[in-house]
Symmetry: C2
Amino acid sequence: MVHNHPLDQLSGDEVRAARQAVLNARKAHVLFRNIYSVEPAKAELIKFLNAEHAGTLSPETPRPPRRARVQYDVVYDDRSHEYMESIIDIATGKEADLRRVDRGVQQSLTVDEFREFNNVCIESDMFKQAIKDLNLDEKFEVAIDPWPYGGPDVGEVTPRYTQGLCFAKLRHENPDTNHYAFPLPIIPVMDTYKKEIIRIDRLATGGTEDGLASGTVGEKVLEHCRPAEYVPELLDRPVRNDLKPLNVLQPEGPSFTVGDDSLVEWQKWRFRVGFTPRECAVLHDVHYDGRSVLYRLSLSEMTVPYGDPRPPFHRKQAFDFGDAGAGRAANNLALGCDCLGVIKYIDAMLVDSEGNPSLSKNVVCVHEQDNGIGWKHTNFRTNRAVVARSRELVVQFIITLANYEYIFAFKFDQAGGITVETRATGIVSVVNIDPGKVSPYGNVVSPGALAQNHQHIFAVRIDPAIDGHANTIVTEESLPIPMNPKTNPFGNGYEVVGRAVTKSSAIHASPFTNLTVKMTNPNKINPISQRPVAYKFIPSPSQLILADPESIVAKRAAFAHHHIWVTKYKDHELFAAGEFTNQSQKEVGGVADAVARNDTVENEDVVVWNVFGLTHNPRVEDWPVMPVEIHQLHLRPADFFDRNPALDVPANKNLSSVEVGRDTDETCCHTDVTTNGSGLVQAAPTTHLQGTGSIPMTDVNGQ
Amino acid sequence: MVHNHPLDQLSGDEVRAARQAVLNARKAHVLFRNIYSVEPAKAELIKFLNAEHAGTLSPETPRPPRRARVQYDVVYDDRSHEYMESIIDIATGKEADLRRVDRGVQQSLTVDEFREFNNVCIESDMFKQAIKDLNLDEKFEVAIDPWPYGGPDVGEVTPRYTQGLCFAKLRHENPDTNHYAFPLPIIPVMDTYKKEIIRIDRLATGGTEDGLASGTVGEKVLEHCRPAEYVPELLDRPVRNDLKPLNVLQPEGPSFTVGDDSLVEWQKWRFRVGFTPRECAVLHDVHYDGRSVLYRLSLSEMTVPYGDPRPPFHRKQAFDFGDAGAGRAANNLALGCDCLGVIKYIDAMLVDSEGNPSLSKNVVCVHEQDNGIGWKHTNFRTNRAVVARSRELVVQFIITLANYEYIFAFKFDQAGGITVETRATGIVSVVNIDPGKVSPYGNVVSPGALAQNHQHIFAVRIDPAIDGHANTIVTEESLPIPMNPKTNPFGNGYEVVGRAVTKSSAIHASPFTNLTVKMTNPNKINPISQRPVAYKFIPSPSQLILADPESIVAKRAAFAHHHIWVTKYKDHELFAAGEFTNQSQKEVGGVADAVARNDTVENEDVVVWNVFGLTHNPRVEDWPVMPVEIHQLHLRPADFFDRNPALDVPANKNLSSVEVGRDTDETCCHTDVTTNGSGLVQAAPTTHLQGTGSIPMTDVNGQ
């Protein structure tokens, strides 16, 4: 593979070269965690991108050097590990930089560590005894979900730990039987490097009447539990048979193109899809119609603290990007993306623990979809309606974190808008609860299974480049004006008050003043409105982290205390909760520290972090797999263009649509068979409406 | 047409019978406004519906009598009007009730009044002089948009008025040239019944420097304005040619049925689509899988106050349901709905000013759409992904109010959810502004055209029937617990505090406490969670009305001061801002008055009103037709079911989807041709990817 672009992922050969360089330099037992491309410094990359956009790229254009970041442990003879990072210059094979990281911090978990945790548990006498004490029925085996250890308690000094939530799984011919229906009230804790179970935490199983006490873990903790299957072949009721196919066909193919270097072009949009093991898909250099909008857009972090105060549930707090890595947890989508229409998949280059390249197929998908009416006006004088549909381009990835799934999508529309969508789905985290009890800390979603109340708090990192890199963030609020003869004689007036953010800041959402965040370029004035060109968004006023500010849970997620953080751009400052979240006791190097630098951010290279979330107090309907909970962040142009950018979207009638109409014979429907603009004949199906009964179809597509 | 159901619209014959009954009774000159079916009293209707759901309907089942509400003016010889309402018993042709309405209130505007306003202006010497004073270029003619007069000022006693926003329209061979680009700084006011222009209000055209003063209306108020066309054939740039067709095909037809009596059945949902001239589509008797969810669901009211304090702009305040009537303003959708897939249209029975039936075709559309992934889980042990798409049923209508459009949709999903969606689009209301000036009261979106800041505040009326009619509304908030050894030793715990609404109340949204409104049935307990069955929603914390509480603007929209109103059910109490909004000076008989009754609403027949809005400070991108601004209200089951109701949605791969894949030859894409569950062969198109260039297609559907 020839690498044309500095934002390309590493090739297999480049991974191998970086691996070898580290092995040569260390001459030790190395356990590889990640090898991936180092994003060039912005100052360097901009020069290249400017030449690219100006159309002046040539073989002589200086290119930022290709560099790999290699993250690995050196394993010493005493089984101790030292975590290091090397920056390898690919062209020379030289180690350009070596960073020996303080042993007090922990890198994210790897799949190998997950696997090992399971093995260590199974062979641990302590664990075996704990399971024996539970006196499980013969029909069960044990299934363990490895989790990050959460934040150690005040004063607790921990080596690298992994903890596990344990479940009983029916011995079943079907390996996809759902073990989450049978939660076991123990959490084993492993010393990760020593590969030893050092403790088994016993979990409370009580209800409201038991307070924080452990409840009465009975002899038969699972007797009252019952299966909760979700794979179709195990369902206890038939699947619906009245859902008829709805097919999206794109007879002329998609309207987008994806180049080998992950350059995506669609409807005046042009951007690159990058990938990192931690963030998964990252968007770079987002342009609309030749104008710069964003330098970089990424999901930065999320934390999921559980609100059950009974220890050790305070350590159920995952940082799914920092503790696990969204890129490494990403689904291979051909297996189950099941998007409609024409789909393009993008692969990701990962490595195994030996440092060998391992291509993860189909990690990101790109497709188009219809999102209803985009704009419409009917002239009531002539009855002429002009209506344009809204087509969207979706760049999507899906991550699985043990029981839970997140679906992340960047959606581009034809009106210059970008939406960052998150969908939460998967299986809610449950713990055992005694028969007949209910709990203030969650909801019983299945007999014996308490789904604990929790929050999901996300951070999106927006690196704007609104017609250039010097931008100013402005907050705008709509405020009442008291009725007065001079400025508001009839009391209907209100004012829009804008404030430029001059210093790096944390800002709260304020829905009742309609607080809007504008990312402006004060150096470029819209000639029509005479206001600076801008993109804007209204930050969702989600509930922020509920944990006590003095708690470890809250301190390690300082980012979760404000909806907006405005910081000055700094190379490689990408993670809202800091670089090392796994087993952290407080946020270090995250947005709070960045804001504390008190940088000037007016007319500067500025970064905006948007924090939003979902307080999830589960419903029975969230079981056994929850319907998606959707959140959308909308970035929209505000005086960036000279009109509605979607005004030139063709307002054609879609000729494949069919009306279930009424003819003289009310039981028969008419059919449109018409010619579309491209000269192709679209044969629409014939429908026959029979009273209020079902509507059988004859497919006339030549089949 | 045989009428089977008490919720059916009137037939043409019924309209004629009602009309004749009124003419017989009044023996006067009658100007008809509306004739439509009277919804039976709930107590009566429930008996019928219960029999219907029990399957015990028979010819002997008592039916509520068919009744028509006839709204009309009696026009006296002195040209004065008296507004009356008759209730006509259809079977007997008798006037069951007559209501002579106080002349101090005004019924909504009719299309005829709109038309007359235009004629009266054109013939008015005062208006002609005002236009002459503007010294318009020969190339223009005048176009007038009739508006409701807004709220008269304190102490102003008004007969029925209509006001008009005036524009210049290019004399053009194309009647759809956009006159809104040329706003004229006058508002004529008509005495509606006398058909006389009684005043011409002169509008300020100044900018920031002019304050409330009128600005300097120049000799040539339009010289700096420029065309802003939106109909495709008049665009000054070509439409996009790179948007390829995206077709939704339903080869086996839709999954829904719509009966003659507008009974809709789809995916365990069953409800009736009713229609009124004021509310447009109304949903009745909404059931899921045989269980009652809602008795009635409707858009109740909206108000659009403008925030420009310069008089007379304080009278730019429309109540689009009460002043105009959403049903009468509804688009005939076949003209421009352009939904995808298989669409069923529903007609509406209206009347002309003679009281004759006038069928408005295709006012409501029903279709299915895909809304992305509905739920997904991947078993990381086996890599088995199970994913179900979310299919939605959409019941949609679109209203045009002069310059502006609203798209309203009720969406049903397979997980028991109902979404009420509003999309705002159309042309923003603009007024003239002097050359080169900008204004604090809006944004210059086109030279000479100031789009004024305004709000849209909507009210949705939800009449729940959660497993029956005795329901209790509960608010739930998630609140922090200070860290303390006894109940929250590590500080991660939080509590969910529920409060039953015992008396009719107004409630504010509270996003930072995650305030959730639960509509519960305290008499039915979910056997799994042991909590009352419920539906819930999180009220959007939209900005409420900004006008000074003492202003007429605010007083006539008391409903716009709170997000949630909880009232005791009362027959025919349907309108959040009261029955008569046109020219009102305060809200009478709206939700505030209903709450003031201080009714007991616990375990009672209760109604919930949700108010939400959009503060719209226009962008240049909103011109000349604005991209949709979308708001969604989600009603979701909360412990209503015993599991995720969508668990039985088939998790099949959609076989018509195509992967733009990579084979050994990177320029060629592979094609899936596979068999779907129904035995039909879906031939997917073949794509040929040529580098990053275009992707030509061969349609293989036998054509």
